[in-house]
Every structure is written in C-alpha cells, then in structure tokens.
Amino acid sequence: AQSVTQLDSQVPVFEEAPVELRCNYSSSVSVYLFWYVQYPNQGLQLLLKYLSGSTLVKGINGFEAEFNKSQTSFHLRKPSVHISDTAEYFCAVSDGWNNAGNMLTFGGGTRLMVKP
C-alpha cells in the first residue's frame, strides 16, 4: 500500500523568499510522483510530475521538485514566491499505469501563505 506524508500543514513565507514544501512517500513498487495546486474555489491543477529519467523536474509557475529515491522524498521548491502562489499544494503518488487507468494517493496538503 502506498502513503504520502506532507510534513507541514501550513507554510507562511514572505513574498520573493524561497520556499520548500516537503513530501515523503512510501511504496513497495516503483512510483510516479506528482504535485498538484488548488487555488480557492478551483479544482486540482497539475504543477509537475516525475515518471522517470532526471530526478529534477521542472513544472509550471517556476516550481521544481527533486525525486530522492533513497530518502523517498519529492520536495517542491520555488526560489522566489509571489502573492499569487498562495494556494493549497498536494503531493500525490501512483504505482503505475495499467490499461484501466491509475489511482492517485494524496498527501494531506500544505497551505502556502505568501505575505507581502
């Protein structure tokens, strides 16, 4: 069984400061890893994903994440945040793809609060 832990439920940060949102996962098989963002009153939007290859993944809005297999982590980073990055961020894992689709297992979410 898979599980995802987001260690921080809230992360306050000042505008233009760097931020790291932490995500650790457990799985007995190879995984696909994702970060989703949810803005108020909107659905979940994919920020970035790791399927294979380079462990440093770049996504939209200047975010990036690094897959660390030995530490079973997939932390999300941004060197300089904007007020508009204020949102809920979800880390998710899938144990692969079959012809019938795939289910995502989500972490509890981290609320990023960017202050002016």
Binding site: A100, G101, M103, L104
Partner: protein
C-alpha cells in the same frame, strides 16, 4: 482550453436522501475518476471507470455508491442513502487514452453537505 466541469457546486441534502453528482469530463477522454476530500482530511480515491465499467474502487466505495456514464458526455456519482459522514468535497477527474501515463484533469468539485 477544455476543462472538466461539475454540477452542482454545492449540494445540501438530508440524511437518508439520494444524491447524484454530475461531471462532464473532457470530450476525448476515456478514463474517469471520482475522489473525495472530507474537510481537513486528505483527498481520497473512490473509483475509476473505463470502457463502461468500474476498473478500480477503494474501500470507501461501498454498495451505497454507484457510477454511471448515462450518455456520451456525463459521468455521475450516486449516493443512495446519504450519511452525515458523506459530507465532503467530491472531485471528478478524467484522462486521455493512449499508452503510458496520462495526466488526470480535475474538476472544481461539488461540496456535499448532509444534514
């Protein structure tokens, strides 16, 4: 840009009543999903649907739940007799056909409140 839509945005119902949550997936997508998020808790997988049948379901998806694709565009989640603990945000998602992993696109959610 195509998007997944869900109706209603907010549904209030009495315990024991049946509810149907509606979703319109992206038009060329073939894989469909329902997830839910109880307030303050994780987003949880409920069910996946492909080729007009359930392909995977979680322990949450018991006999009180059912899904259907009644026509070429809608994908519905029915809860036959709602319980207080069914109060949650319900998200629909869809993904495209093809080999390998395809991104799941999520709708904005329906907030279900059971009184």
């Amino acid at each position: 840009e195509p998007e997944v839509t869900q109706t209603p945005s907010h549904q209030v119902t009495q315990m024991g009543q049946e509810v149907i949550l509606r979703c319109v997936p992206i038009s060329n997508h073939l894989y469909f999903y329902w997830y839910r998020q109880i307030l303050g808790q994780k987003v949880e997988f409920l069910v996946s649907f492909y080729n007009n049948e359930i392909s995977e379901k979680s322990e949450i998806f018991d006999d009180q739940f059912s899904v259907e694709r009644p026509d070429g565009s809608n994908f519905t989640l029915k809860i036959r007799s709602t319980k207080l603990e069914d109060s949650a945000m319900y998200f629909c998602a869809s993904s495209a056909p093809g080999g390998g992993y395809n991104e799941q696109f999520f709708g904005p959610g329906t907030r279900l409140t059971v009184l």
